[in-house]
Subunit: 394 residues, 2 copies
């Protein structure tokens, strides 16, 4: 499984930049991406001429905004040379995680020394109904979409089955939301900076039983970007380079009904296995993580598939406070997709920016005590794509 994948030299993140996440009627997709890209370049103390290839993650820009061919549209606006390849990567909500994976492999293998990976999505220009319809395109149109399934309903089935198999409770799901809102309230770039109580979380209006409003991530506009370079050149760009220690990307059936067991994601396990093997570390050594909490149950499944807790224990562990900032395994100190926001194509790179911020000790009120080894996990659809990235302080 993935035995063919080989990495070469060390790679560092030497620049990171994000826009705030939210609803920005006055900012189009390109403006968001250019803002994040410019911040990343500034953070790397460099300019567009240094970039040898542009990797863009975007899920559904053409459907949200009717603009397609997004990669050169953005790279030229960032002032990059036309001589470089500009390419858009799409893997549903794991689009920019996938762009990062391919960019890392290219730099590690020696194809390029310095590249930019950006992610962007502009969603709030469409109605919630249309957003839900566009997002449903990441499911299987032959089966799921045809019968009216949307992602809240698919993850509701996962949650229900997890409850049935492992005794996970409603309050466990809500505990994920409470914890992520607690963190997001401290994040100046988060879309929903509002702490909530367990009672509020449990009694919100139902979306797809057992999931309610507070179990679902947000509809957002936003962008994020990082500069990757060969580690031996990192000093040219940053005093605080962060090493990319391991990456993994794997895939699975798009349709949930093709999975033998819907409470575990084989693609997540495979991507984690690859990333751990490349980094030479195990789950127990990871100190903190940004996980793909598109729904509260997704965070629970992810912490189990990553090996942070035993299978079936994710909800209990969360309810007991294990994933809070002061817990044994802090998860989504940024606020996660739940509170920070989820501009889908931006999320993978934004998670990496959040891990980088922690590793550099620049997370302000949200700064974690142990911050030398972090993990980011980006999911596409109901588990058909997963990308896992492990980063460490240099």
């Amino acid at each position: 499984m993935g035995s063919g994948r080989r990495a070469g030299r060390d790679v560092a993140v030497v620049g990171a930049g994000k826009t705030p996440f939210g609803a920005f009627a006055d900012k189009d997709l390109r403006t968001l991406a250019v803002t994040a890209g410019t911040k990343a370049l500034e953070n790397a103390r460099t300019g567009p001429d240094a970039i040898e290839a542009f990797y863009l993650g975007n899920f559904a820009g053409p459907q949200f905004t009717s603009q397609n061919h997004l990669a050169p549209w953005i790279s030229t606006a960032l002032g990059m040379s036309g001589g470089i390849p500009s390419t858009r990567f799409e893997d549903a909500c794991a689009s920019s995680g996938s762009a990062f994976f391919h960019a890392f492999m290219a730099v590690s293998a020696g194809i390029y020394d310095v590249v930019m990976v950006a992610g962007v999505e502009k969603m709030t220009c469409q109605s919630t109904a249309r957003v839900t319809e566009i997002l449903a395109g990441a499911g299987d149109s032959d089966t799921e979409v045809r019968v009216g399934s949307t992602f809240p309903s698919l993850f509701a089935m996962i949650a229900r089955r997890h409850m049935h198999d492992f005794g996970t409770k409603r309050e466990h799901l809500s505990a994920v939301a409470v914890k992520n809102h607690e963190n997001g309230a401290l994040n100046p770039d988060a879309q929903m900076r509002k702490a909530i109580t367990l009672e509020q979380a449990m009694n919100a209006r139902p979306i797809a039983e057992p999931l309610n409003l507070y179990d679902c991530s947000l509809i957002s506009d936003g962008a994020a970007a990082v500069i990757l370079c060969a580690a031996d050149r990192a000093h040219e760009f940053s005093d605080k380079p962060v090493k990319v220690l391991g990456v993994g990307q794997a895939s699975d059936f798009v349709a949930l009904d093709r999975k033998a067991d819907i409470t575990t994601f084989p693609a997540l396990r495979a991507a984690a296995h690859q990333a751990y093997a490349m980094a030479g570390v195990g789950a127990k050594q990871i100190e903190f993580a940004e996980l793909h909490d598109c729904f509260t149950i997704a965070e629970i499944v992810a912490m189990e598939d990553l090996g942070f807790v035993e299978r079936g224990r994710g909800g209990f562990f969360t309810f007991e406070g294990g994933t809070r900032r002061g817990g044994a395994m802090p998860i989504n100190a940024s606020g996660g997709l739940k509170s920070k926001g989820h501009p889908v194509g931006a999320t993978g790179v934004a998670q990496i920016c959040d891990v980088v911020q922690q590793l550099r000790g620049e997370a302000g009120e949200r700064q974690l005590k142990r911050h030398s080894l972090g993990l980011a996990q980006n999911l596409g659809g109901s588990g058909a794509t997963c990308v896992v990235t492990i980063l460490g302080r240099d």
Copy 2:
């Protein structure tokens, strides 16, 4: 320009497969891609388990069919392991050329030994008006699309300017169409197997003056796939491996009005420069080519930017028969996008399949006399992305 790009070991195409191009109401996008992928695997005498990464080129599947997240949707249907990365690449009509570029670089750099690159588009399920609107998304929504520009009108401006600057004539454009239809009539997989006269070509109904119906490529369904592997393992898969000698990908402004001179494409020139340099050959050594004739004028500009003829001479050269199968530089012996069809996301890989077929001497009635060194050129938008690939007999 592109100096950062480095390739490593030799890479071979060891399998190629295509669907016919046309309007296939009974075949969905996935069926087309799986058909082409299966043919490519059979041609490489192997199965899906051999594939270490899946690269999919697709321009606008989500808009044409509402299915997104296409890469795992297709790779799982081909029977590939979930442990591998499955990723969609989008660069407008150069989407699968770009997927091929990234796949080649990955195998050359030693990341993988064996990968599949596929391209697919399903277009005929939408009305011509809606197809034109979706394709317009590869232009700039802030300027071109806002004022109602579509690709026929953009390329009409290029044609008009080329006529003004270089004396190119209406009959030169028509000669491109006549020659491509002559070739396509002999191609069993072509969408429009019909030879036309110069008179027919010149007197067809206008689309966007000076372009008429026969200056425009077709709206098509279709897919193509190739298997790439490290050259030292090629013998495991094929008795007729084809070497990938050079590749280049470059970008430029999406909006035509940002170009200093609209009768030449800097991204095309940059990609060609990279591919020639990597292959260690010049334009004069190329024996035949598949060029991106989305419009007749695009073939003329491409042959000039690639250095096959002097600037401004492409129309004259074509009219004099220089690009016919028996000419000095045969172009689009397959029939080109004009006659073969143009399922946009499939086109880049389909061109490579056509070059491979010639190099292997398997082109039947269209077989060229000189067939040891061929070139494929894939264009996105009005020149914002270009990919050039040079292939040779082993």
